[in-house]
């Protein structure tokens, strides 16, 4: 792929949250690219920094969180140097975002219609009639058949799945090039989750949009993503195509995550292999590799210094000292 296919480039991004108990390094010098028309998955447990990295792109980090280093480029433009007005224009029209809890994101005192048209008024010079018809059209395209009726409803009158569809409609109204979905289906039932994921796939294909899909669910990654970054403790542990990461996982953490969930064959009663230990304490992350206290292959060097990013194959990287070692096969399998 050429450079022009890159929609979003994130280089060595670091995000910190200063607090009275110390500084939390939520994101530590991570890099990833999002190409046009692809779905980039970011998977990790709570506190891994997966959301913070995406919020940084939108410059939506809650105070006192701030970007302390790195570079975010959207179509070559430096997002971090945007003025307030430029940001206002950028958010919503270039990048749309949907959040985990739709009920908390929709304003309870305005109708669905008012919230959809508001987005259009903010970004375009548009007449009321055009805004309403564009909104109705958009609701239809996210699978709400009874769109005119829904426009007059309030958020609490809709089910969770419907609310999330409305959120997606709002995010898509200005035709963004990138959609950030932050745990967009986590609060939904499994049948509704499947509908929303299929809907996202469909709008992505129809519009040639890119998606950053943030989740903790490995099953969803397999379903929707083209490439995936596995995050732990603010670092990207492994990055590659979905097939690379699922069929040739190269980092012990990825291997651990895959073994920890029930298999595709649900009748298998084999014991799950958990990842032992507890996630890092954000105020005192371990020295060396952040995963070493929970890693079954931990070596001396892992306790002392951070592993470099290792090129496993084309487009597949992992940060682990085992990969620097010739006996990595023996290590991972043994």
């Amino acid at each position: 792929m050429t450079n022009t296919d890159k929609l979003l480039e994130i280089k060595n991004l670091s995000v910190v949250f200063p607090s009275k108990n110390g500084v939390v390094h939520a994101v530590n010098s991570i890099s990833y690219d999002v190409y046009r028309g692809e779905v980039m998955g970011i998977v990790g447990e709570s506190g891994s920094g997966k959301s913070a990295s995406a919020y940084a792109v939108m410059q939506l980090l809650a105070s006192p969180g701030k970007v302390t280093g790195g570079d975010i480029r959207f179509e070559g433009k430096d997002v971090l140097s945007f003025s307030r007005a430029e940001l206002q224009d950028f958010r919503g029209s270039e990048i749309g975002m949907i959040f985990q809890n739709p009920m908390q994101c929709l304003d309870p005192v305005f109708t669905i219609g008012a919230q959809l048209t508001e987005t259009l008024y903010a970004h375009r010079k548009i007449s009321r009639a055009d805004a309403v018809s564009a909104s109705v059209e958009m609701l239809r395209s996210v699978g709400i058949h009874d769109a005119e009726n829904i426009m007059r409803r309030y958020p609490h009158e809709l089910s969770g799945g419907m609310q999330q569809r409305v959120m997606i409609a709002i995010a898509l109204l200005c035709n963004p090039k990138l959609l950030i979905a932050d745990e967009a289906t986590t609060a939904l039932d499994v049948t509704i989750q499947d509908q929303i994921v299929q809907l996202l796939k469909q709008v992505k294909n129809d519009r040639g949009m890119s998606i950053i899909f943030i989740t903790h669910n490995f099953g969803l990654v397999a379903d929707i993503c083209d490439r995936v970054s596995v995050m732990y403790g603010g670092y990207i542990m492994e990055q590659g195509t979905v097939d690379d990461v699922f069929y040739a996982p190269s980092h012990p953490y990825t291997v651990g995550l895959i073994n920890a969930i029930p298999k595709a064959d649900l009748l298998s009663k084999d014991r799950l292999t958990p990842i032992y230990g507890t996630p890092i304490n954000p105020f005192s992350p371990p020295d060396g590799c952040v995963f070493h206290p929970r890693c079954t292959h931990c070596m001396d060097i892992c306790r002392k210094s951070k592993p470099p990013v290792h090129q496993v194959s084309d487009g597949h990287t992992a940060s682990c000292w085992l990969l620097e070692n010739a006996d990595k096969e023996a290590c991972l399998n043994g």
Binding site: T191, I192, A222, D223, P262, L267, P274
Partner: protein, 320 residues
């Protein structure tokens, strides 16, 4: 009911008063005429979406929620309308939200020993400590953890404390109400393994409630699928996974994300026409018929009976 059943419930009903959009009074039938048996030593899984009544069913069996009608038998004794005190120690519950279900102002020692004090009087202090330490050890915590407060633990460890508290009174039957839903993936498998080990060692009977079919499938012997207050299908894991008979079970199965990209790509996703689920059941027809792609005229008129379609495999569908 036969002698192998530890729990047997018959025509259990529980409805909550509610209001619809226009402010008219309605009833939400959380548990609607459920008959179910749980054999001694088995793990019965209960799946369904939010609002299907699975949690209410679990709590009604323990009489934490009083049923409107129906009978609950524990080990052959009808426990509806009697003083539950002698039964509390035999039936326990593990809650979904570990931080919300532990008193933040109590140390772990007191959280765990409270149940022992209530049920076994006359224990000396050293016997009590020994009992608490043994429980902590059983759930994989250190004895020094006994003197810490719940907020000092991670979510997975808090859930272990919740399990230790349930075990403290030597129960026979435990309702696990979404015990892993609030936990991170790496903790989920730790807790599932722990529950399986404890069952093997101590012979518990579980009612395992979850919305995650893959977790339920992993831990359970039999599975009940709930939809709007009714158990629409009940059978062994093989029955449910390989021979699902109810359209809702089929929809659930096809919606589970499969952690395997190749299988996932080949999978056909049923494109269901999407309209808001009717919360109440209107004309006494099948509650699923509005969403069911196989629905016939009959489905809208009469609610289907729960029938045994194969040995031990029950389904409430006209078409099964």
């Amino acid at each position: 009911m036969d002698s192998t059943d530890l729990i047997y419930i018959e025509n259990l009903k529980k409805a909550f008063p509610s209001k619809d959009v226009r402010g008219n009074k309605t009833l939400v039938r959380a548990v609607d005429d459920v008959t179910l048996s749980i054999k001694r030593g088995e793990c019965l899984g209960l799946v369904g979406e939010s609002g299907s009544g699975k949690t209410t069913l679990g709590r009604t069996i323990l009489r934490l929620v009083e049923p409107d009608s129906g009978k609950i038998y524990f080990d052959g004794t009808d426990i509806t309308g009697i003083n539950m005190k002698p039964y509390r120690s035999k039936m326990q519950i593990i809650f979904q939200n570990p931080s919300g279900s532990l008193d933040p102002r109590m140390r772990v020692f007191n959280i765990i020993s409270e149940g022992i004090k209530a049920t076994r009087r006359g224990m000396t202090k050293s016997e009590m400590s020994a009992a608490v330490f043994k429980l902590l050890d059983a759930v994989g915590l250190n004895s020094t953890d006994a003197y810490r407060y719940p907020h000092e633990f991670s979510g997975g460890q808090q859930q272990r404390i919740g399990i230790a508290r349930a075990l403290a009174v030597n129960p026979e039957f435990i309702v696990c109400d979404e015990p892993v839903s609030a936990l991170d993936v790496s903790y989920q498998s730790q807790i599932i393994n722990l529950l399986e080990d404890l069952q093997e060692q101590l012979g518990f009977t579980y009612l395992f409630i979850s919305h995650d079919l893959s977790v339920v499938m992993h831990i359970s012997d039999r599975i009940g699928v709930m939809y709007l207050g009714k158990i629409v299908e009940l059978g062994s894991c093989e029955d449910i996974f390989l021979r699902p008979a109810h359209p809702y079970t089929k929809a659930l199965l096809s919606a589970i994300p499969v952690p395997d990209p190749k299988i996932s790509r080949q999978r056909e996703h049923k494109v269901t026409s999407f309209d808001d689920t009717p919360a109440g059941i209107k004309n006494g027809g099948c509650s699923y018929c509005a969403l069911c792609s196989y629905a016939t005229a009959e489905c809208a008129k009469a609610a289907p009976e729960n029938r045994e379609i194969a040995t031990g495999h029950f389904c409430a569908c006209h078409l099964a």
